[in-house]
Symmetry: D2
Subunit: 488 residues, 4 copies
């Protein structure tokens, strides 16, 4: 239907983007205020839009969904007062699978009214058989209101014959393929689910007498909640003020495959995943990288801000001094709205500037988290050389990104990925830098704590974006012509 906002972020299009963060709270006064804070701490997982649904005994369900930052929408008294009650869930998103342009209809949480009451649902991930499900549901009389794949779950639930909402959700999720960390709610229950592989994160916390579900631990910290544990792959927790936390296991058990890129880039450095500090993992990636691909130079500089911990690790291991050679304009925000042509062409300069006096005459190692299209890397290299650097060496804290992600991350089409068509050396020549080295897949596995490296028979993580080995077949995409990696 109508498009209400132009596609945003013209300057940031050279990174993979997490599509969503989810959050839920039960058992506290004005739960929606806590959800707003949690979503603010998860803003890095989705900047385009956010939504909160709350439930109050008197007023029932209330919902607000808005484009823009959490801090700009969900902080006004007048707005937050419309979201009363002790139970609330929320969602931030980057963009959804199906939509070409953004519409508020597509902003989660989604809400459905069933004969036994209402339910709201928000999810992080992607349903890989959404098209097929949608087609089937429409043929049987469901009316879709959004272009989002997540709406399928609501319609599947509406058609379930189970008598209560959690059981209807189990029914629905057994029909769904893909990666999904779900936070949902009824009028009295907060529900959390991770898909059988546990691709996307979801943690449980406790605050006062209440419970919290969050994509990451950093969003527990912001409200002073205590970390309890991760929701297990394939687990569904149903939390009520009456019965506390109850665990269900609706799916057949399979070996877990957590997304390794959460460690590399998506998660915030102050979050803890699987008992490991994300910051320390990234620091360790830098250490591994310095061992795998040493180079003689004067300075180690991060590409801000995501390359910073790996650069510190690289400096530590190599003994080459760490310095801030590139400065980030902290007032960049999501993007310049509707930039003039002139501004659009400035590209990276608006966001980054070189510390000219520092760089001049130096041999510089630049540590970045990943190379996607390579467009930003190229501009950064030019800025560094313009400032008088003698040599530029790129060290990348992840293996070459050669395959798109179909599990809730916004990746360009395969042919746009630099590593899909070039070897490491070709990329070095393409970027015209003195050297370019990516960490090896085994090196990355070591950095996340797998001392033996990757188990190629049964990989410990989902690393499809590097390896092309997809743990769940992306069936909608295959239908549309996507070609899987040929068996070797």
């Amino acid at each position: 239907m109508s498009r209400q906002m132009p596609p945003a972020h013209p300057f940031d299009d050279d990174k993979l983007k997490e599509e969503c963060g989810v959050y839920g709270v039960i058992g506290v006064t004005d739960a929606a205020n806590f959800v707003a804070l949690g979503l603010h701490a998860l803003q890095h997982r989705g900047q385009e839009a956010g939504g909160i649904v709350s439930h109050d005994a008197e007023q029932g369900f209330n919902s607000v969904r808005r484009f823009g930052y959490v801090r700009d929408n969900f902080t006004r008294h007048s707005l937050m007062e419309t979201l009363p009650g002790p139970l609330a869930i929320g969602h931030v998103r980057y963009s959804t699978a199906g939509s070409k342009g953004a519409a508020i209809r597509d902003v989660q949480p989604f809400f459905g009214e069933f004969s036994m009451g209402g339910a709201a649902i928000a999810h992080n991930g992607n349903i890989t058989n959404a098209n097929a499900l949608r087609k089937e549901l429409v043929e049987r009389g469901s009316i879709f209101q959004s272009s989002s794949d997540s709406e399928c779950i609501i319609h599947l639930m509406a058609r379930s014959l189970q008598r209560n909402i959690p059981e209807r959700m189990e029914d629905a999720l057994r029909r769904v393929e893909g990666a999904f960390s779900i936070v949902a709610m009824t009028g009295s229950e907060l529900i959390g689910v991770r898909d059988p592989l546990g691709v996307r994160p979801l943690v449980l916390g406790q605050v006062a007498d209440g419970w919290v579900l969050s994509s990451e631990t950093c969003a527990l910290d912001i409200i002073g909640a205590t970390y309890v544990r991760e929701i297990e792959p394939g687990e569904m927790v149903v939390i009520s003020e009456k019965h506390g936390v109850e665990s269900h296991y609706p799916f057949r058990r399979v070996p877990a495959r957590f997304c390794i890129f959460e460690h590399v880039y998506f998660s915030r450095p102050d979050s803890i995943i699987g008992g490991r500090s994300v910051y320390e993992t990234r620091h360790q990636i830098g250490v591994e990288l310095a061992r795998e691909a040493p180079v003689d130079a004067d300075l180690v500089c991060p590409v801000p801000d995501s390359g910073t911990p790996a650069a510190i690790g690289f400096s530590h291991e190599s003994g080459i001094p760490y310095a801030m050679g590139i400065i980030r304009n902290q007032y960049m925000g999501r993007t310049f709205i509707e930039p003039t042509e002139q501004i659009r062409n400035m590209g990276v300069r608006l966001k980054l500037n070189v510390n000219r006096a520092l760089i001049k005459g130096k041999r510089v190692i630049l540590v970045d988290d990943s190379v996607v299209r390579g467009t930003t890397s190229r501009k950064i290299k030019e800025m560094i050389l313009d400032a008088g650097a003698k040599e530029v060496h790129f060290r990348i804290a992840s293996p070459p990104t050669a395959w798109p992600c179909f599990y809730g991350v916004d990746t360009p089409q395969r042919e746009k990925l630099l590593a899909a068509t070039m070897t490491e050396d070709e990329m070095r020549d393409h970027l015209q830098v003195d050297s370019l080295k990516f960490i090896s897949l085994n090196g990355l596995y070591r950095a996340v704590g797998e001392a033996e490296g990757r188990n190629s028979n049964c990989p410990q993580y989902c690393d499809a974006c590097f390896s092309g080995e997809y743990p769940v077949a992306p069936s909608d995409m295959i239908e549309q012509g996507f070609e899987l990696k040929a068996a070797e």
Copy 2:
């Protein structure tokens, strides 16, 4: 869910309100622009919100729904450019049956995607068995997005086994009870339907090579369209660029019962209904009233603006001079947004003022179209006496409004209607005026052209608000405890 706008019109709450106007155009360039103009001409039928859906071969369906006036929303280039194509429908509404607070989700047209394509639908009227239908549909797995009764039609269509959309609509409408004039569209067809009784109006017009459906003829004039004919009660027209206008008759035939209040108040005086000018009918009501209830006085003054034609007729028949004793502030608009307490208490003064110099010392006949709660009548009487009038005589251009309307008009609960609990004389005493007379029901029928008056065996019009005789049982309301008039 969340309430986005406070209930409006604190000063206008003493009139019955038409809930909707509908409009559709096919076969012209940028049909949405025509629809915007048509809706502007129908704005008196609904001031709270408006929506337009258009269809374009390339872009498919586009939709914009907004609170506020047509002129403030649907005139911006940037907005209208998002509604391209040769086919569009639109809707203005006052408020919908089910909602306590206003939400954009409830603004029509509604849109549904079926396996054979999309359809949008807008309706004027009310579905009297909506609650029952909704309950049944939810139990069978439909997800409602709005609190509007009209959404039932979309879900009934989604579940029909018919192969094309017009036939699905026929299926759906056969399940529906109440009053409904519908304008709908598929990707290639403009559809118009009137319920079997033809309670609400709908006319067909022609503009250039295209066709127009409209609630009233005044909205044909604004785009220079020619009036062709009324859609018949129980008729469905399906209009395509390929096949022109095709008529269907999905319902069992019953005698028509057009809403007589459209003549009295709802329709614009420059519209033509059933071949009669609304202005002339109202003028004639004034003539009948002067005959039925003459009184000796110095001036005949209308309560602006709706009492004007009847006042002119009364003056003409009685020979008493016509004068503008009450002046309306033309900058009143829909309402003061969020008025301060002080302003709220001013009530009628904001909108109306007395022409003091004219009124002083005079015996004044005030002609108004109707008395609902009587609150405004009372304030007007006080203003007139404050200005020094010697006598105040009310003459009302409709019979006493003693029963609520369930067919698409916003009426207070029965106990709030002055005429539900008082006789004409009691009302006169309550209002403390020198005399108060309503036109008789037979007099009203004569004024609309029924020389013999009302046929009490088979009334020619729906006059339930006066007579309590409901041509379609208001089944949802009866379920909720509404008591029909005892059989005599």
Copy 3:
């Protein structure tokens, strides 16, 4: 400097426009609320923008100025709370003399801080030597913030050597030429002034223990204030809670010349000027017109809304039935914002529609208040003929408008005025109507109560727009090349 809003009202450009309305209240709680109501009642005198300044013992002066209607701006609690105190003045304006585009800087009241305290000032009228004064002031070091002629008064006051603000204002006003009804305030006084000729209106009222100054009496009625008297031409009243109303006469005495067009068009029909009801004066103009220019016809129809009282008078005198042949869309508002090309071309149709059934086959007399450019008259004639009228006769309730006004009314340049270049007969042919008659200047004088008609030696009113006799030489305009009427 920057232009913030496009020039508005593309559809209304064939009327003279009053430029301003002024209002002030002292001695009541939250005076600004009263001012908001008063400005709402004066909205017909200026729809482009409005401003209010209030004074409170604790907070000092506060000011809000906004584009748009009073009802849309000055009714929000949050806004009105920023305007506390027992003393406030306000202003609505159409547009100011000097500005090409609208800027909020140009919206009155203007405020100046002097060594003895602050003062705010709002005025209705025009300063005819503003350019000369401005030039002189800038040369002596004054910094102008607006393009408005009224700002001169503040700067003249700043340079006065008098010790208190009212005396500084007297000093300043003695330097000023033109027409000006001023409402001003200090921290403790409400001040009202009319220029020596008394061209623009200003009345005094009383509400509870407080006092009111207003352009018109209709704005006393809205707050329930009692009319006390008109401020006299050349009088300055200084009203304080302590000393009540004190009169000063700063100017040399000259015979009064009130604007006769206030009677014809500008003032609201429910206002009283010089003891006469504006409505009755206009009714009497219709009577005079029927006597001066009778014609055989079937219907007398007003061009709504301003032609209505004269049409009623014409009908009364002639015996030809009065009818509403043209219907005005009451949702027109100030204008369609940014109308699409298609809508722009619809012109008059958006605002007016013909009552086709009524007009068909009839000989119609159309009564309008004035003819300026003639563009609207022409479109109306076409609409009437399209609807099937047999004859169209125009009767105009004012003499031919042949000269621009330089005293606070927005008139086109002289060459754009139809009557500046054509005789009555030429205009009739130009408009292609069956007959066209204007009331005579003497007829108009009789209608306003001058039984002997106009005293050509010493005219009782300012009628420069009809006669070309300007009571104050428009010196800035003469400087710019405007040619006065040659002496006869």
Copy 4:
């Protein structure tokens, strides 16, 4: 007058704030676009509001002033098109001296129309005799429109008898005391001035055929301009397309006293001041600090982001590993608008979070740039201890801030400054940390390149905030009761 925005930044109130950044461009097409980019790069010097004035041969001066970020206002096509021409100046501000609440009237650049044409002026700094000047000007008839001290300059210029604007500005500036880096423009000239002491920075750059004036060099980089030189203390440059850059020296010569805090905190690390990289100076401060105040610990962590370069320097000199123990939420923006009470109380947590896994059990050195009130330091200490740190040692990259700045920096009243009432040891106890050390004043001078440290007879910098020695007497403040440091 009226307040249009609540005071902002409740979470950032424990830093000194630079009040302004200035920028100007001449000799390029659409100069305002360049100014917008430059102001974006100077956003750290003022986040509350921004303004741009441009001049175009045809349209004259145009101006836009807005609250909020540059990127949110000055990037829309429709807005930037209203600022045409080859000459433009701009300003970002934090807040101005005189105003309690923010009003758009107070946003620079200010504009004045003189008899020889218009001029716009923007300034960074503070006029210390503004009150006295204002009083004198008002008594002589000037009308002030803002509460800003900068408006004095315009009025002084208006009263000058000089024949051209640059000479009028010289006249005006000779009356003015304080710190001021000015960027101004006439219709054909770009003007830059630094006060005789050169307290605030101002640099000259070149872009294509045009010239640029900027507060810092980082804002030259963003548009690809070449750095030419600093404007000298006491110099006025007048730049025209015709005559290029012309230097004037309107003031008596005095030894320069550049603000040393620009090195410590205000300027961006990628700027170059006096030939020195700000980043390297800060790094060197860390080195000096490690020498002056060593401590045995496990980690050196910066308080982000301003403490980062000094922390790196400290780590480098001490050999203790550098780590990011505190993570900053990059979506913080200027502030949460209108935060709910709950959110307001979260304070620092919204912006900063501790890297718990890293900190646990460690002895941590925290490097911050300054301590003002000490409120933030205290909260950070608590966060670090909550996360399980064994010891917390604060090292501060500036001497104790014991005196307010009156030269364009927003400082709390003296009694609110922690160092005004406590010794270093008392502060340590107050903050309850294991140790707290500030760099010495001599250490700071060494770090900025003065090998001999501070020359106490004739200090090389303005260091009044540390030393209490004010190079220009703050006369308005003394008038209001401020007590200078007693002579020793």
